[in-house]
C-alpha cells in the first residue's frame, strides 16, 4: 500500500516542521544548561505534554494495541494505575525535591548521596538500557513502515534516525520538548480519528462489546481491569498493584532521567510540580487512544495471529486517503518523541555523569555542550546498529518492560532509602543497587521454574525492589553512615524545610 498525494504532503509537512523546530531553537543554545535543561525556562503545559508523548511511542502504537487485542482493557492498567498515582507523588514530593537540589541527573544525586561508584554504575546501567531501548523503538518503526508501505525495514530506521538525531542535536531539550508538543497534538488527532472511525464502523461501543463477547469464552475478561492471578494473563491484579503501581511506575516517573529531566527544566517550582500533574491528566486519555483501538481491531478483524499486526492492519483497511497520512505522521510522532527524549537524557547522563566526572574533569562548559551533541550522533548510530536484535524477541512491548524491570526496582529502592533514611550508608546503596540487579537477572533466567505466568516482568520488578531494599538496609546497619552535615540538601527533611539553607546548598552545587 502506498501513501496517496495528500498523505505524502502531510508527512512531509510534519517532518519539515519538526526539523525546523530544531533549527529554530539552536540559536538559544549557548551553554550546557541550555542544551540539557532548556535554560530552566520551560512552562508546565509544554513539559506535561512532553512527558506524556515521550512515554508513548511507536512501541505503544504497535505493542500496546497488540496487547489489548490479546488481553483486553486490562492493558489500560499500564497507563492508569501504572502511571497516575506515581505521577501525583512525583509531582508533589520528588520533582520539587530534585528541583530545589539543583541537580542535572538522577545518577548525579545518587553520587552525592552515596558515592562515585553508585553514580558510575547507575549511569552505566541507564546508558546500556536506554541505548538498547532505542534499538527496540527503531525496530518498531521499521516493522510498521514495512507493513504499511512495503519499505525495507533498515532504510526506514536510518531515515528516522537521521531526522531525530538532527533536531535533537541542534536544539537540545528545548527542541525536544517543543517538538513533543506538536507531536502530542498530532498523536491525539490521529488516535481519535482511528477510534471514531472504528467505533462508527462497528456501530458504537455497545456493539463492539457484544461482538467481542460473542467471539467465545476466552474473551470473557476483555472488559475488566481486575484479572485474577489464577487466569493465564501477564496482567494479574497482584502484579499490576505490587509490581506496576508500587515499583515500576514510581521508578519510571521518579527515578527515570528521561522523564525527570523535563521537569528540571521548568521555569520555577510551581511549573515543575504542575507539569507532572498536567501530564497525569493527559495520560488518562492514552488507553482510550491506544487500548481501545486494540479492542476495535479484535471486533473488526478477529483471528489475527500476531496481535502486533492489529494496528497496521487497521490503518490499511479502515482509513481513507488523507487520514492515512495523518496516522502515519502520528505514528512518526510517537516514535520520534520517544527517541528524542531518550537520546537527550542519555546524552545528559553520559556528559555529566561519565564524561565530566571520570574522563575530563576540567572540561569547559562549551566543551560539554559539544560533547552532548557528539554523543547524540554516536547514540543514534548505535541504536541503528542494534535495532535488528529486537526481531529475535516476540512481543516488543514486553521486551522493553523486561529490560527496564532489571534496573528500575533496584534504582527506586536505593533512591527512596537515600532520600528518606539518613542512616543509609554509601555501601548500603552500592550493594543494594548491584544486588538488586543480579536478583532481577536471576529471576529472569529462572522465570519458568519460579513463576506461573509467561512474562513475569511485573513480579520480577517487585521482588528485585524488595531484595534491593533488604540488602541496602542490612548492609547500612553494619557500616558507618555519613555525618549529618554531609547529608544536608540530600535527605528529604533537609531539603524541603529550610529555604535559606537550601539556597546555600544550591550555590555550593553550582560552584562545584
Amino acid at each position: 500500500m502506498a501513501l496517496k498525494g495528500i498523505d505524502i504532503i502531510i508527512v512531509l509537512l510534519y517532518m519539515g516542521g519538526i526539523v525546523g523546530i530544531g533549527v529554530y531553537f539552536k540559536k538559544y543554545i549557548t551553554s550546557s544548561e541550555d542544551f540539557f535543561l532548556a535554560g530552566k525556562m520551560l512552562p508546565f503545559w509544554a513539559i506535561g505534554m512532553s512527558i506524556v508523548v515521550s512515554d508513548i511511542g511507536a512501541v505503544d502504537f504497535v505493542g500496546l494495541t497488540g496487547q489489548a487485542y490479546r488481553y483486553g482493557v486490562v492493558v489500560g492498567n499500564m497507563d492508569w494505575i501504572g502511571s497516575i498515582p506515581a505521577m501525583i507523588l512525583a509531582a508533589l514530593v520528588f520533582v520539587p525535591y530534585y528541583w530545589r537540589a539543583g541537580v542535572f541527573t538522577i545518577p548525579e544525586y545518587l553520587g552525592r548521596r552515596y558515592n562515585t561508584g553508585v553514580r558510575a554504575i547507575h549511569a552505566s546501567m541507564w546508558l546500556i538500557v536506554m541505548a538498547f531501548g532505542l534499538g527496540v523503538t527503531l525496530w518498531a518503526t521499521g516493522v510498521l513502515l514495512s507493513e504499511l508501505m512495503g519499505w525495507p525495514i533498515m532504510i526506514s530506521i536510518v531515515i528516522t534516525a537521521v531526522v531525530v538525531g538532527f533536531y535533537t542535536m541542534m536544539g537540545g531539550l528545548s527542541a525536544v520538548v517543543m517538538s513533543d508538543v506538536v507531536q502530542l497534538i498530532i498523536m491525539f488527532v490521529g488516535g481519535i480519528a482511528i477510534l471514531v472511525l472504528g467505533l462508527w464502523q462497528l456501530g458504537g461501543w455497545e456493539a463492539m462489546v457484544h461482538k467481542i463477547q460473542g467471539l467465545g469464552p476466552q474473551y470473557a475478561h476483555h472488559f475488566t481491569m481486575i484479572v485474577s492471578p489464577k487466569e493465564n494473563t501477564p496482567y494479574p491484579w497482584t502484579g499490576i498493584l505490587f509490581g506496576l503501581a508500587i515499583v515500576l511506575a514510581p521508578a519510571y516517573f521518579i527515578a527515570n532521567q528521561t522523564i525527570v529531566q523535563r521537569s528540571l527544566g521548568a521555569r520555577n517550582e510551581w511549573h515543575a510540580k504542575a507539569s507532572v500533574l498536567w501530564g497525569a491528566f493527559l495520560k488518562m486519555f492514552i488507553p482510550v487512544l491506544f487500548v481501545f483501538p486494540g479492542l476495535i481491531a479484535l471486533a473488526l478483524y478477529p483471528g489475527i495471529a500476531d496481535g502486533d499486526r492489529a494496528f497496521p492492519i487497521m490503518i490499511k483497511r479502515l482509513l481513507p486517503p488523507g487520514m492515512t497520512g495523518l496516522l502515519f505522521a502520528a505514528f512518526l510522532s510517537g516514535l520520534m518523541s520517544t527517541i528524542d527524549s531518550a537520546v537527550n537524557s542519555t546524552a545528559t547522563i553520559w556528559t555529566k555523569d561519565i564524561y565530566q566526572r571520570f574522563i575530563k574533569k576540567d572540561a569547559t562548559d562549551r566543551h560539554l555542550l559539544i560533547m552532548g551533541r557528539v554523543f547524540t550522533v554516536v547514540l543514534m548510530l548505535f541504536a541503528v546498529a542494534t535495532a535488528p536484535i529486537t526481531s529475535l524477541f516476540p512481543g516488543m512491548y514486553v521486551y522493553m518492560q523486561t529490560l527496564l524491570s532489571f534496573i528500575q526496582g533496584p534504582s527506586l529502592a536505593i533512591l527512596i532509602l537515600g532520600m528518606f533514611w539518613a542512616r543509609t550508608t554509601q555501601w548500603g546503596g552500592l550493594t543494594g543497587l548491584v544486588g538488586g540487579f543480579f536478583i532481577s537477572a536471576g529471576l529472569y533466567i529462572f522465570k519458568s521454574s519460579l513463576f506461573t505466568i509467561e512474562d513475569p516482568f511485573l513480579y520480577i520488578s517487585w521482588w528485585s525492589f524488595l531484595g534491593s531494599l533488604i540488602i541496602a538496609v542490612s548492609v547500612s546497619l553494619f557500616t558507618t553512615p555519613y555525618p549529618l552535615e554531609k547529608l544536608r540538601g540530600l535527605v528529604y527533611g533537609m531539603v524541603l524545610k529550610d529555604e535559606k539553607l537550601q539556597n546555600v546548598i544550591e550555590k555550593n552545587i553550582s560552584e562545584e
Binding site: 482493557v73 489500560g76 492508569w80 494505575i81 497516575i84 498515582p85 501525583i88 507523588l89 509531582a91 508533589l92 520539587p96 472488559f223 475488566t224 481491569m225 481486575i226 485474577s228 492471578p229 489464577k230 494479574p236 491484579w237 497482584t238 502484579g239 499490576i240 498493584l241 505490587f242 503501581a245 508500587i246 520555577n268 517550582e269 510551581w270 511549573h271 515543575a272 510540580k273 504542575a274 500533574l277 498536567w278 497525569a280 491528566f281 488518562m284 529471576l443 519460579l450 513463576f451 506461573t452 505466568i453 513475569p456 513480579y459 521482588w463
Partner: protein, 69 residues
C-alpha cells in the same frame, strides 16, 4: 510465593478496592499539603493554580473508570 499465590483467592471486589486505594492515598496526601507549598513559585494564587484541585479531578475520573471496568 513469587506469584502472590496467597492473594489469589481474594475476591475481585477486594482487589478492586485495593487498586482504588492506590489512587485515594495520593489524594489524601495532596489534600494535607500546606497552601504555601502548593503555590510555591506560582505567579499568583488564582484558584486554577491550586494543585490540590488538579489532583482531585484526576483521581475522581480514575476511580470512576475502575468502578466501571
Amino acid at each position: 510465593m513469587f506469584n502472590f499465590d496467597f492473594l489469589a483467592n481474594l475476591s475481585e471486589g477486594w482487589a478492586r478496592f485495593l487498586v482504588i486505594l492506590a489512587y485515594i492515598i495520593p489524594l489524601i496526601f495532596a489534600l494535607t499539603l500546606s497552601r504555601k507549598y502548593i503555590y510555591e513559585g506560582a505567579e499568583d494564587q488564582k484558584l486554577w493554580r491550586n494543585l490540590k484541585i488538579w489532583v482531585f479531578v484526576i483521581v475522581a475520573v480514575m476511580v470512576a473508570v475502575y468502578l466501571y471496568f
